[in-house]
Symmetry: C2
Subunit: 214 residues, 2 copies
């Protein structure tokens, strides 16, 4: 397809597409003559993905380029490629290792992962941003004097594991490796706001069922 | 307890406590003499809650005051009091009602709520910020040309309903109505980052189980 059709089908203006081409977020089309290039379905898919990262995920252009470099590197294993976008999403700052609440939270989260049997996630504890977020959340909670209910968090963990199984089952319905990886990246951006909205609606629903509408 | 002990037990400086008192986020202690006031356990609980909203939820002071007004108004029904904090969390902008993707997303989300049997949430559709977030997420997804898999979203909805049941069961373990409401507000702030971190860790775990570690 030509640039105009690519723009039409993606809803992205030709000026923006040219910008993405210049920034290396989209590979050039096949040059037909000096002024015309031909684009494939894979360009359309990539364009949607770039748009999702920038517009919905609010990921900076330089980081998008970094994520795509991982997405496109088929020398990497699938686990790393599927997780590429997660590393680019906004992260919490490195927790202060000297802080007593942080130290206690490390122990509690490691215990949690053991209880859940997440031995792979357990092996990533020192580098995973998600692990770091969890430690910071737990430490903050404890610092404010709230109780940590280990059973409740284990139950949340089991639910989130079911969600992750759904995520990956859906990723696997896509035929090519490229589409699998792209779906995982788009999913990382879209699934979280959807789960959050569903959770809030479910709280309203459950609360109204138990206590009535007011 | 005296101000010094309140500060010690909450980890919040006396200067900050005095600021919260001036701003009406904390009710005054019982005055013992001209310079000394006596504070109760309820002050400590309230202080933790205010701290959680401001420091973790990044909710502006004026909004915290608004949330607390709902929390403290026992003429309101429990559903409204429990949900008070949700309304104060950052919200998406009002979607454009004329937009064709927004209109289609409204229909899809209403269909989803019917399938889930969330008739109470369904009745709130015009005013709920969570409903609005979901409509915007779906419309954005569709606008970018991604497929919407209704069965997948229904499955996510059922998981989030299980999470909401856990949330409310935990809220109900607290003895007094005031503590129930306070726990729901603190929960609204803490549960989402914890679920998000657990979800990301679960994705890593599941991915490593299926495809190995790299």
């Amino acid at each position: 397809m030509r640039l105009a059709e690519l723009s039409e089908r993606s809803g992205v203006s030709t000026a923006t597409i040219k910008y993405y081409l210049r920034e290396g977020l989209l590979t050039p089309g096949r040059q037909i003559n000096a002024t015309t290039a031909e684009y494939e379905e894979s360009h359309l898919r990539r364009l949607r993905l770039v748009r999702a990262m920038i517009q919905v995920g609010r990921i900076p252009v330089a980081t998008v380029r970094e994520v795509l470099r991982h997405v496109d590197d088929d020398s990497l294993g699938r686990t790393i490629r599927l997780g590429a976008a997660l590393w680019a999403l906004p992260q919490v700052a490195e927790p202060d290792a000297e802080d007593e609440f942080i130290q206690a939270a490390h122990r509690e989260v490691e215990q949690l992962l053991d209880t859940l049997g997440w031995s792979n996630a357990r092996a990533l504890v020192t580098i995973s941003p998600a692990y770091r977020s969890l430690v910071v959340a737990v430490a903050t909670f404890r610092r404010l004097g709230y109780d940590w209910n280990p059973e409740l968090i284990v139950s949340y963990g089991r639910l989130m594991h079911q969600a992750a199984v759904l995520d990956l089952d859906f990723v696997e319905t896509h035929p090519s490796e490229a589409e699998k990886v792209e779906t995982a990246v788009a999913g990382a951006i879209f699934v979280e706001p959807v789960l959050q909205a569903l959770h809030r609606l479910a709280q309203k629903e459950e609360s109204a069922r138990r206590y009535g509408f007011e």
